[in-house]
């Protein structure tokens, strides 16, 4: 399968430069710069948005002094963090301490390479797009683990251990939740998945979206799964010893991850760039914004779970549900391909509700270990 | 109203057990010998009529000539209270038995008294300074304490 690997072959013919002489390089340049600037720009906006939103949830104003409406707050933060002293603890594992932020940050940016902003407008239209995303996203966990391990700090080691346990566990339901979509769309390419969504897949696959959203909350370490940072327990988590630029990179990674996973949720389940009247990219950004605001809402509302409860939730609740979802979806697709969308969605929703009710009967809160 | 049990009542109730241990009887409590405190505490705790099962507070005081430790007990069921007192004449190296075996509530308070007054409680599981640091000179609540350097 050589064509899978050649990126050059993955340029969509829709783009004007697809048949130019150096089209491939121009493509890389345009989208490379585009993705990075879009990501960094939106990080600045989204950090501001989160702080303002959390402020509103807590009945206060949030940052409003730096620049108009406080929009430059994140810029000020960046300027400050970048010019701060860069400390490397004397007993740290220096090499790994240095590489860890890079290892954590790079894959996050790479994930956007396969996300279309309009029909065919993406860096690399891989026909294994989803697989690529999954494979790349796990590398961030490695970066976080390296940071925790190399810091020579007990809190960061604990945080690193939690990272590995949590991220590896939630990788499973995250992947399996997307399989249902893949079965319906009949393709692994994100561009094709968006194009097949005449009806957003959230209608067809409510259970799939449910699992995907929860698992991605765990992947990006947001409440109620923010065990890696766990302010009240582990002080600051894996980045406890980082300062200056390296800390900024981790801070950035965190928000980029949140944005990228919002993007994926928007692309896979909410119809991506599709939508009437407005240009495709605006639709995509709008959907990303909605998902992100939802994440912020959860962050400012819910408490945190304990590590064994987090693990139990992944393996005992999400994983069986994801498998059930795949099973039911494939039966529909294989046996009755003509099923109307509403029936399929309704069945899926019914399964989700029944499963949650069934599980909540078994669920006994509290105690030393999770009891189901 | 939490009524104070008078010393006479206790002496009356525990006549057999207290033999020889009581030094003097006051209106709200009794003064006993330091060595016998463990037995007496067990008696007042387990006695069916008294049922002094809750150790409220332990106060240590430096009365120039001697050190006094006073224990205050409640009986939660009967809503009564009672005071036990102990005097230690040896001020250079005061020591007495610890009550932690009977009430673990005594643990921190006895450490506090050790720290601030210098009374050693034998049988305490973790007899060391609680508020001040290791290497602090003297015991602040002694009347002859100056500053601790």
């Amino acid at each position: 399968m050589p064509e899978l690997i050649t990126v050059g072959a993955a340029i969509s013919p829709n783009l004007p430069w697809s048949d130019w002489q150096f089209g491939f390089w121009i493509h890389l340049l345009i989208f490379g710069i585009g993705i990075i600037s879009l990501l960094l720009g939106s990080v600045i906006i989204f950090i501001w948005l989160e702080r303002r939103l959390v402020g509103r949830f807590q009945r206060r104003l949030g940052p409003n002094r730096a620049g108009p409406l406080g929009l430059l707050q994140s810029v000020a933060d960046v300027i400050k963090i970048l010019t701060k002293e860069d400390i490397v603890p004397s007993r740290a594992d220096k090499l790994i301490f240095w590489i860890a932020p890079i290892v954590a940050f790079t894959p996050v940016v790479l994930m956007l390479a396969v996300v279309p902003v309009a029909d065919g407008a993406l860096l690399a239209d891989l026909n294994i797009g989803i697989l690529f995303v999954i494979a790349i996203s796990s590398i961030t966990a490695l970066g976080v683990f390296m940071a925790g391990w190399a810091s020579y700090n007990k809190y960061s080691i604990l945080s690193a251990m939690r990272t590995v346990a949590q991220l590896v566990s939630y990788e499973m339901p995250l992947i399996l939740s997307m399989v249902g979509v893949v079965i319906i769309a009949g393709s692994l390419s994100l561009n094709d998945i968006v194009k097949t969504q005449t009806v957003p897949f959230i209608v067809l696959q409510p259970a799939g979206f449910f699992i995907f959203f929860i698992a991605s909350l765990a992947e990006i370490n947001r409440t109620p799964f923010d065990l890696l940072e766990a302010d009240s327990e582990l002080v600051a988590g894996y980045n406890i010893e980082y300062s200056g630029m390296k800390f900024a990179t981790f801070y950035l990674t965190e928000y980029c991850e949140a944005i990228v996973l919002s993007t994926l949720a928007a692309t896979i389940f909410l119809g991506g760039w599709q939508g009437p009247w407005l240009p495709p990219i605006v639709w995509l950004l709008l959907k990303i914004g909605i998902v992100f605001c939802f994440i912020v809402w959860i962050r400012s509302t819910l408490p945190r779970l304990r590590i064994d409860q987090v693990m139990g939730f992944a393996w005992k609740f999400l994983l069986p549900l994801a498998i059930l979802n795949i099973f039911v979806t494939s039966i529909f697709v294989a046996l009755w391909p003509e099923t109307p969308a509403w029936l399929m969605g309704l069945t899926n929703l019914a399964i989700l509700v029944a499963y949650i009710l069934f599980w909540s009967k078994l669920f006994k809160p509290g105690g030393k270990a999770v009891a189901v | 109203m939490t009524v104070a049990i008078t010393g006479e009542e206790v002496v009356g109730a525990l006549d057999k057990e207290l033999k020889g241990a009581v030094k003097s009887v006051e209106s709200e409590g009794i003064l006993v010998q330091a060595e016998k405190i463990l037995d007496i505490a067990l008696c007042v705790k387990n006695n069916k009529n008294l049922k002094l099962d809750y150790l409220v507070s332990i106060t240590g005081t430096d009365y120039i000539d001697y050190l006094e430790v006073s224990y205050l007990f409640y009986s939660l069921d009967n809503n009564k209270r009672f005071t036990l007192k102990v005097r230690l004449e040896n001020k250079s190296n005061p020591a007495m038995p610890s009550l932690t075996g009977i009430w673990i509530g005594a643990e921190l308070q006895e450490r506090e008294i050790y720290d601030l007054l210098g009374i050693t409680f034998s049988g305490h599981p973790n007899m060391k300074r609680i508020f001040l640091w290791e290497g602090f000179h003297g015991h602040p609540l002694r009347k002859d304490f100056s500053n601790g350097n």
Binding site: R51, G55, Q58, R59, R60, L61, G62, P63, N64, R65, A66, G70, L72, Q73, V75, A76, D77, V78, I79, K80, I81, T83, K84, E85, D86, I87, D231, V235, A236, N239, I240, E241, Y242, S243, G244, F247 | N126, K128, R129, F131, L132, W133, E134, G135, F136, P140, F145, N147, G148, N149
Partner: protein
């Protein structure tokens, strides 16, 4: 020095006791403070460049506070950060518990000699540039507890203080005024000067 890793070990206590004793004997005089910034230090002001202005604007707009609070004044600081006074307006709602990420210590409360090595260590762990606000009477002179055998008479025995805020405890408005003063001070810093 090898220390037994046993949670009840006396070795750790002795080790810490020695640290306290050392610190106590070495800090009998207040630390000299970086003063003169409010008076017209003209020379420095002239050399403030655009780079300086941008840097200082960034620094003053995002003063992240270390959560090293000791006593009563903490509650006035929390009041300041809560919904009513909302310190987040100045971008200061980010409370970092790790000293590596923080820029500012607000010394809210009495400092005892037992606590002093820890506070000093937190200060030393913070990355430059860093600032200290002495909040409340205890932070300035030891306040009502200055006579006590275990209280440090003012944080300036161990840390260089940038701004003093009197009061026992200072009201949130007073604390806000102090922070405003610190922001002014940050503005006057030159990049070349470090």
């Amino acid at each position: 020095m090898e220390i037994r890793t046993d949670s009840t070990s006396l070795d750790i206590d002795r080790h810490e006791g020695n640290l306290i004793k050392e610190l106590r004997s070495s800090s009998t005089k207040p630390v000299t403070e970086p003063s003169g910034w409010l008076s017209e230090d003209l020379k420095r002001n002239i050399f403030l460049t655009t780079v300086d202005n941008v840097l200082n604007w960034g620094r003053k707009s995002s003063l992240w506070t270390e959560t090293a609070f000791t006593a009563c004044c903490t509650f006035e600081f929390i009041s300041l950060s809560s919904s009513r006074f909302d310190i987040a307006r100045f971008g200061m709602e980010v409370l970092r518990s790790s000293p590596r990420h923080a820029d500012l210590i607000i010394t809210a409360g009495t400092l005892t000699w037992k606590m002093a090595p820890q506070i000093k260590r937190v200060y030393e762990q913070m990355a430059e540039p860093k600032w200290v606000i002495a909040m409340g009477a205890c932070g300035i002179t030891g306040g009502i507890f200055a006579d006590s055998y275990s209280v440090v008479p003012g944080y300036n025995r161990i840390l260089p203080i940038d701004v003093y805020i009197p009061g026992c405890p200072p009201r949130p408005e007073a604390l806000l005024a102090g922070i405003e003063l610190l922001r002014k001070k940050v503005e006057k810093r030159s990049f070349l000067q470090g």
